[in-house]
């Protein structure tokens, strides 16, 4: 998700830097709480390496971006969603999320057909920051290949990836 578009003077790098620094500054319980706040990774979801989350219900999956991703982006000011009915392949750029600083692609973690998109997040992009796993969802996809689910990360693996 963090591939940047445009060529502004300011480009971000160093993914989990902010989290790392704070962890050195805090200790014990405080550090644990900070990890919890900074790296909210719900156990019931699946994750893509590119920071999207997946919530499965039957043959439909809801897609959004992780709390870690929204925290890296900071203030989300624009969300662009795919057309309903569009067929996408796993790993295909399917939506765009823009912060003040940068535009980033959101990749569909699964192949299939877009069956629903979230008008609330288009109207109020800040939902991505305030409710990344609830009101800030992006789109729902009727997935074609359940085997793709097993290629995704579980919460523990994703937490390890983001250094939480």
């Amino acid at each position: 998700m963090m591939r940047e578009q445009g060529r502004g003077a300011l480009r971000s790098n160093g993914a989990a830097f902010e989290v790392q620094i704070w962890r050195f500054s805090f200790s014990g319980l405080c550090g644990f709480l900070w990890d919890f706040i900074m790296n909210n990774v719900p156990a019931e979801l699946k994750y893509a390496k590119s920071h999207e989350w997946v919530r499965v219900s039957g043959d439909v999956a809801t897609i959004g971006i992780s709390d870690h991703a929204q925290h890296e982006l900071t203030d989300v000011v624009f969300v662009e969603l795919p057309e309903k009915g569009r067929k996408v392949k796993a790993g295909e750029a399917s939506a765009v999320v823009e912060s003040v600083k940068t535009a980033s692609d959101v990749y569909s973690p699964l192949s299939g057909e877009i069956v629903e998109t979230n008008p609330a997040v288009v109207a109020n992009p800040a939902l991505v920051n305030t409710e990344p796993y609830a009101g800030g969802w992006f789109f729902k996809i009727r997935f074609a290949d359940p085997a793709e689910l097993s290629a995704l990360l579980d919460a523990q693996q994703y937490r390890a990836q983001i250094g939480g």
Partner: protein
Amino acid sequence: MLKHTPLFAAHQALGAKLIDFGGWEMPVHYTSIMDEHLAVRNAAGIFDISHMGEVTVSGAAARPFLNSVLTNDILKLESGTGQYTLMCNERGGVIDDLYIFQLSIEVYFLIVNASRTQADVEWLWARAAAFAGGDDLRLTDASHQYAAVAVQGPRVAEFMDSCIPGIACSGKRVSRITDLRKNEIAGFPFGKANVMASRTGYTGEDGFEIVGRDESIRQMWDVILTAGRPFGIKPCGLGARDTLRTEACYPLYGHELDENTTPIEAGVGAFVALGKAEFTGRAVLAEQKANGPARKCVAFKMAEKSPPPRPHYPMLIEGAKVGEVTSGTQSPSLGIGIGMGYVPSASARPGATIGIEIRGKVFPATVVAKPIYRSAKDPVRTTK
């Protein structure tokens, strides 16, 4: 290996998100660009600007020499004052835009863009070698000797006297720092050393820029953050610096300015003094000022909800590409997309409609007068 300013440890301790900015590892934000931007608009913010270049030019020939390479008229300066100016090549293209301060009649202090310091110094050396107006000229790249912070925002003047409590010991002889007026500069004792403070900035708000030795500026950072806390000061990164200057329509080298763009095209012709003696680039600039340039840098606002404009997005007029966005962002103050870019002069009037192409779709935008955002407390337009 990225370069670090003397405040690097302070940025780390504050949990800054760091980026590579022209070879410097600098904070892009501490909390978020939006938070920091609004702190500067509503209260106060402090920025590390130690990466910027400092050049000193001194000697009996300094004044005539500098006036022959800079576009603004330094004969208008008195000791303890400064001005925004530009340095151009023979084609009128901008080598750099900078601030020049007269410390005394024979000593000048130039603050230049970090990314252009080397090019500037090489250009100045070459011009100095060819200068026929006198030999008593010393030119030093002092960038390594200095660190600097900018303190910006409508509430800054409420606490700066407590940060730098003394009376001026050089430059403008004011009895306290907040007596400095816009573009004035003075030296003040600070701890065991002196610092130089000017009433300047790059945000469109009131404020100061303070230059000193590494240790002084490290101390200054802490002193200002402590004194400013009751007033709502926040440490601010380069992200907010960029959105603030974009709202204020201050050009940024590499975006609005480069060696193939003139100050007249860029809309900073007010800082080109054609009435003074010959200076590099004058012929081209005089011709453009008289006849009008073919293209001009305009400011625009998106006309409806759209993705934020970004640098290099195509700008269109009646469906045809006429240029590219040079700076663009979501405006934290206005909540809409804003930007700048070059269009043919015929379309450079406020109210004109242009199109911005974003991911293959064209969104309407309206050309607006500069600045896009004007601070209630800083009604006079200045640049940088």
